[in-house]
């Protein structure tokens, strides 16, 4: 519904406009693309940062964000504004923050756990912070909630066929979190020890660091995680109970079969693997030499998978020993064929049948797994793939003679991994390129040699490689006593003996849907080398995982294809110049030197040493920023981290839009209403959208003035349109929680008798991880008056407040001491407050239905204890006990003053009729407040100082006021101010008559009153009440804007109702009018409250104890000395005027002045407790 006002932007100006609107009773929606308020790149944030004033606006931001009528939409990009005045719909895209604003308390445990450091600019300097961090560089922000910086998916991760979060595990390794790294790898895929050794590592091929120097050594790190994780592999940790009863048969225990079994087990199934060999692992066991992949590594993985409840039947050949039909009869409902490609292709030349001619699969199997297998002394391997190279290297280890590889193309076309080829050469294997065997020669039984011919490369063939062509007449003969044919393998699916199973006629591969891996027979799936032909391990694992998903869907009767795709995720684009790159060079894999490898089958690559591994991991550029290692999610006790957060589209209704975000350099354009008409065009002429442009020269004060004046204008127009003119909020409706919660004449508790309950806030474990809550509880329970101690996870949430309420009810508590992060129960918002603390108080006020400041005592054990004593837990625990004990002491003693509510009259008195005063009067009149203007005595000096423009502008305002029937009264002979804030009475005395004007607020145009030029020549007597109040304002005129007075009022909450506009002769008429409007905005917000109560820490002065020394009156201009009939004066203050600084209290010689919430006695007992005296006494008892 279109209600209220939408304020777009997060600048201090936007916040000021929103606060003014809300204080005048309008619903406000702040929409900002930034994650917190005060961060927009508009004028003020830069100037605020430059002047170090950002903390001045902090209370303003907090007041806005916590105002019940204000909703803040962060991370929200406005797309379109549709509709017209009175009925706008703002469509925005809410970008993910990945952290829930309602839950996050900013305890920063996530940031401590985050392994990724991302660069950012801090005051123009390059700095780094965790990928999960507070929105603003200086940690404070509104809202407090952290946010995560993500840019997408890192290229390494996008390239991984099994979807391993490569960046994630690398970042964890960089912080020495090896167990966590292995867990993260195993989130996506099993077999880390195997893949870490033999994967073709597309991750490394896609590494961005290549642009800097050389890629991160991801394969070595993958292995590093698998080999070094202290906890080892344990797939059971995250596996669910075996919940699914459907029987599944997997044929083949290679990487595809094992991966499928693993994934199915993780989904609750207990699959059975049938393996024809005695050894488990398929080609991984039989085809990969032990010096590349030791048996122990494979066996470890197999055992871990078995431990998941996977049954592996070895020595069973499906199709021969048992058929699929048999298995169906035994209740198997789904099948995964992963039989690999073990049948050798032959050369189809003569002599292949000779003794001494073997195929690569048999050779590797024999040398890998059989004892006593021997080789010849002149070995020739034919082929250029991995099995050729592996065969040659394996044979070389057993042979004292020569080992040669014949390959018909060049080194470039070899399909074997380049590193392995290099190692083979290092080990003494020679390679004859562009050489093709024509005939294998023999002596009738045994092989003796090979007749070969030389080749040259011709045209490209179908697979993109240049076709080798024989060079005529180049034939020659080489000797050989052992020939290994390694030109590729093909599956042998016929052995399966399955009717209707279709296979490719040429390649013999089983036909399966590329996405679902379902064969032509429903319920039978196939994957790995038997579908693709000989391929690498990682693709086989990927197929196994995909098959498992299909089988799960099949068994649950779900669509096999829905929501699945073979598309790889799109990797993020990175500008490497924006990244911090560690200066380390790529690590080298330590290896056994080639001359010590012969005759042995030990693993050559030794693995990275721990410190080298960590340093190598640090080389990662963290392409995607957040690595999604999920450490933050695991560490957050409050469940506030939400990695799955997505962009949402939201529609926000509003009657009027104020846009602080759009760039526009026209300084005065806030008067001009511009519209983005019906959606997108910024040039529309519809009314109702106010744009405040950017002006780098505008000061913070000017920005705030502009914003509040604009807000006032919006309110006036809205009310005019609706024809309603509320001058104060509807007090009876109870929309304001602060009033609703007033206690109903609660029985006064005499000091020292209160039943006190203590609440300990764990703050998502950020407090309780340092402070021993058990010990604190035991000790606090000993304190006098404490009847109950409760521990809660998060006091600032609504749930926390409700639990505290339940505790208070159950134990019939009079007072609660909350040990958390809040420091006081006052209304003020100081620079170190946070939105969670404000929220905490609001929730407590709501749930306890009592005034918090009086019934809840706060003790800060977070910033003042746990967070600064992490290195000393026992000291922190003792200190926490003392801090809480001081809170208990205060709670038992404090008897708050009965705070009275004063009504605020809906009228204003403007003293001084310069442009500022008249503008204020006009603006207030527009809002239907009754206004009286008293003009200062006309002085020639003042008149002479006015330029013609000023005079003309002023005349215009006078005319406007006259039209509204407001007359400007002349200055009386004497003007006295009586009454109290909210209901002042000005007594205007002239020779002939005395008139009294009642006013809720008083606005002073000092420029007119004191003259623009000589500030001394005032119309108000310095001795009068008004004169004394004005004195500091007049005195400090020259002192500049060290802290804007307006912002101070926001922090401590204005109660006096007196608004002073200072003179500045350099201001243009328009600037002066703006000042007037700003004062009117503040005054109307003050009037709109309807009632007023003094602030909690206001002083009271006992006239009985006062001996009239006047010390206090010299300190505070709000204190006045009054006469007594006895002739001895006494000091008096209106509590509503007191700012609560306490200076007068400290300097009262008789103790007549007290601050109930900050008396000497309370400070004394706080000291006593903090210095351990209370706990000491309790212990001694």
């Amino acid at each position: 519904m279109a209600k209220g006002v939408a304020v777009i932007g997060a600048s201090a100006g936007a916040a000021q406009a929103a606060l003014t609107l809300a204080e005048l009773g309008l619903e406000v929606k702040i929409i900002t693309s930034s994650p917190s308020l005060g961060l927009d790149s508009t004028i003020d944030s830069a100037s605020i940062a430059a002047s170090g004033k950002h903390l001045s606006v902090w209370p303003l931001l907090l007041r806005v964000a916590s105002h019940p009528l204000v909703t803040v939409y962060t991370n929200s990009e406005v797309a379109t504004i549709a509709g017209k005045r009175g009925k706008f719909t703002i469509r925005a895209a809410r970008n993910p923050r990945y952290v829930r604003e309602d839950l996050c308390t900013g305890c920063s445990r996530c940031a401590e756990a985050c392994p990724v450091q991302v660069p950012y600019l801090l005051d123009g300097r390059r700095a780094t912070r965790s990928a999960i961090h507070t929105p603003s560089p200086d940690k404070q922000s509104v809202p407090t909630a952290f946010c995560i910086e993500k840019t997408g998916i890192a290229p390494c991760r996008a390239a991984c066929p099994v979807g391993i979060n490569v960046q994630g595990f690398v970042s964890l390794l960089s912080k020495g979190k090896i167990d966590e790294a292995l867990d993260l790898i195993n989130e996506a895929a099993p077999l880390a020890g195997i893949l870490g050794r033999v994967c073709t590592h597309p991750c490394q091929d896609n590494c961005t660091r290549t642009e800097v120097d050389s890629p991160v050594f991801t394969p070595a790190l993958h292995r590093f995680a698998a080999d070094n994780a202290p906890r080892g592999i344990n797939y059971r940790r995250k596996a669910p109970a075996r919940s699914r009863r459907e029987k599944i048969a997997i044929v083949g225990s290679g990487p595809a079969g094992l991966a499928a079994a693993w994934e199915l087990a993780r989904r609750g199934y207990s699959p059975t693997i049938f393996e024809s060999h005695a050894v488990v692992g398929g080609m991984v066991a039989t085809g990969i030499p032990r010096f590349r992949l030791p048996h122990e590594v494979r066996e470890r993985e197999v055992e871990a998978i078995k431990a998941l409840g996977v049954d592996i039947m070895t020595g069973v050949t499906v199709g021969r020993d048992v058929t699929i039909t048999d298995l169906r009869e035994r209740g198997y409902r789904a099948f995964f064929l992963a039989i690999g490609a073990h049948q050798n292709r032959s050369l189809n030349i003569t002599g292949e049948e000779l003794e001494g001619v073997v195929d690569a699969v048999s050779l590797l199997f024999a040398l890998n797994l059989k004892v006593g297998a021997s080789v010849g002394s002149n070995i020739v391997v034919i082929g250029g793939g991995n099995s050729a190279v592996d065969s040659a290297r394996t044979a070389k280890r057993r042979s004292k003679g020569e080992v040669r590889i014949l390959y018909r193309r060049t080194a470039e076309e070899m399909t074997a991994v380049a590193d392995e080829v290099e190692e083979a050469i290092n080990e003494g294997v020679s390679i004859e390129y562009l050489t093709q065997p024509v005939e294998i020669l023999g002596d009738g039984t045994k092989v003796t040699g090979i007749r070969c011919q030389r080749m040259k490369l011709g045209e490209m063939d179908a697979d993109g490689r240049r076709r080798p062509e024989p060079i005529p007449g180049s034939e020659f003969v080489i000797d050989a006593d052992h020939v290994v044919i390694a030109i590729g393998q093909r599956p042998n699916s016929s052995v399966l003996n399955i009717r209707w199973l279709e296979a490719d006629a040429d390649a013999a591969t089983i036909q399966a849907d590329p996405l679902t891996l379902e064969t032509t027979i429903p319920g039978i799936f196939a994957g790995g080398d038997c579908v693709t032909g000989p391929n690498n391990v990682v693709d086989a694992v990927a197929a196994g995982l995909r098959a498992a998903e299909s089988i799960d869907r099949h068994l649950r009767g779900r669509d096999l294809k829905k929501g699945r795709s073979l598309d790889k995720p799109k990797p993020v684009d990175i500008d490497v110049r924006e990244r911090e790159a560690s200066y380390h060079k790529r690590a080298r894999m330590p290896a056994i030197p080639p001359n010590r490898r012969m005759g042995k089958f030990e693993e050559i690559a030794l693995g990275l040493p721990v410190e080298v591994g960590e340093r190598e991991a640090e080389r990662c550029l963290n392409c995607a920023l957040c690595s999604e290692c999920l450490q933050c999610e695991q560490v957050c006790e409050l469940g506030a981290v939400l990695h799955k957060d997505k962009t949402e589209h939201i529609d926000i209704g509003a009657e009027v839009v104020i846009d602080f975000a759009s760039a526009n350099n026209d300084r005065d354009n806030y008067h001009h209403e511009r519209s983005l008409s019906q959606g997108t065009s910024p040039q529309g002429a519809e009314q109702g959208i106010h744009t405040v442009g950017i002006d780098e020269n505008r000061t913070l004060e000017e920005e705030l003035a502009l914003a509040s004046a604009l807000a006032l204008e919006v309110v006036a127009k809205l009310r005019q349109r609706e024809g309603v003119h509320p001058t104060s909020r509807d007090i009876t409706s109870g929309s304001d929680i602060h009033l609703e919660g007033k206690p109903e004449a609660a029985e006064p508790i005499s000091a020292g008798r209160a039943r006190v309950g203590v609440v300990l806030c764990r703050c998502g474990d950020s407090i309780s991880s340092v402070i021993d809550f058990n010990q604190v509880t035991n000790e606090v329970l000993q304190l006098p008056g404490v009847c109950n101690v409760q521990e809660i996870s998060q006091a600032c949430s609504e749930e926390g407040a409700n639990r505290i309420k339940a505790q208070a009810t159950e134990w019939k508590l009079d007072k609660v001491v909350l040990a958390a992060c809040r420091c006081c129960g006052l209304e003020q918002i100081c620079f170190s407050c946070t939105d969670r603390r404000v929220m905490c108080q609001q929730n407590l006020t709501n749930s306890l239905a009592l005034y918090c400041g009086e019934n809840v005592e706060f003790a800060n054990i977070r910033e003042q204890c746990a967070w600064v004593h992490e290195d000393d837990p026992s000291g922190a625990t003792r200190k926490a006990t003392d801090i809480i004990s001081s809170g208990v002491a205060r709670a038992r003693q404090a008897v708050p003053a009965v705070s009275e509510e004063h009504p605020v009259i809906g009228s204003a008195l403007v003293l001084g009729a310069g442009i500022r005063g008249l503008s204020a009067a006009t603006n207030l009149a527009t809002l239907d407040y009754s206004v009286t203007v008293v003009s200062a005595p006309e002085s020639d000096a003042a008149k002479g100082a006015q330029s013609p423009e000023h005079l003309e502008y002023r005349a215009g305002l006078v005319k406007q006021l006259q039209e509204r029937g407001i007359i400007i009264r002349p200055w009386p002979q004497d003007l006295e101010l009586e009454g109290s804030p909210g209901s002042y009475e000005a007594v205007l005395k002239d020779r002939s008559q005395t008139s009294r004007i009642e006013a809720g607020t008083i606005i002073l145009d000092l420029g007119e009153l004191c003259g623009e030029i000589p500030p001394e020549a005032g119309a108000i007597s310095k001795e009068s009440r008004l004169g004394r109040i004005l004195a500091p304002s007049i005195g400090s005129r020259a002192s500049g804007d060290a802290h804007p007075a307006d912002l101070r009022e926001v922090a401590i909450k204005e109660t006096s109702g007196i608004f002073i506009m200072s003179p500045n002769s350099e201001e243009s008429p328009e600037e002066q009018a703006l000042k007037g409007a700003t004062a009117a905005a503040k005054a109307s917000a003050y009037l709109y409250q309807g009632t007023l109560s003094p602030r909690g820490n206001a002083v009271t002065i006992s006239s009985k104890l006062c001996r009239g020394c006047g010390n206090c009156a010299a300190i505070c201009s709000y204190i006045e000395m009054r006469g007594r009939s006895s002739g001895i004066a006494y000091a008096h203050i209106d509590p509503a005027l007191c700012l609560g600084c306490g200076a007068c209290t400290a300097h009262c010689p008789t103790g007549a002045i007290t601050q109930p919430l900050q008396s000497d006695e309370l400070i004394g007992s706080t000291l006593e407790a903090l210095l351990g005296k209370v706990a000491c006494a309790v212990e001694a008892r």
Partner: protein, 137 residues
């Protein structure tokens, strides 16, 4: 349990003084747990009596932590605390406790590291002095 740690009392002004203590925590800094913070509305609320009270209760040192000139929320600055500080120093001298057990710090807003540095140095200096109060039965 022993409570022998030489406690330091920091009277911190609720405004800029407290921002330093907050900033120290936000920045993850640390200082001795013997430092105990008493929040007051403004340093001008503190008088010599309260300072002496802290010593009477066994504090080994007292730090008055307030804002830089011109930053006072109440435009009071050090107008009143400076005098109280001088008077209390005189009394500490008279009582034989040593005037160096009391320090007055005016710190910039949110100067967490500055605060930690000051308070840690102060704690160290105090530790090197003789016990503040001779052990009384």
């Amino acid at each position: 349990m022993s409570r022998s740690a030489a406690h330091l009392v920091v009277f911190a002004c609720n405004w800029d003084g407290l921002t330093c203590i907050e900033a120290a925590a936000q920045a993850g800094l640390s200082y001795p747990a013997s430092v105990r913070v008493v929040r007051v509305s403004c340093l001008s609320r503190v008088h010599q009596g309260l300072i002496l009270k802290a010593f009477e209760l066994g504090a080994a040192g007292v730090m008055l932590l307030g804002c830089k000139p011109g930053n006072c929320q109440f435009d009071v600055d050090a107008r009143y605390i400076a005098g109280e500080y001088e008077k209390a120093r005189m009394l500490l001298r008279l009582l034989g406790l040593g005037e160096e057990r009391l320090v007055l710090c005016h710190m910039a807003r949110s100067d967490g590291s500055g605060f930690v540095k000051q308070v840690a140095t102060f704690a160290q200096e105090i530790e090197q002095m003789q016990p503040a109060v001779p052990a009384r039965a």
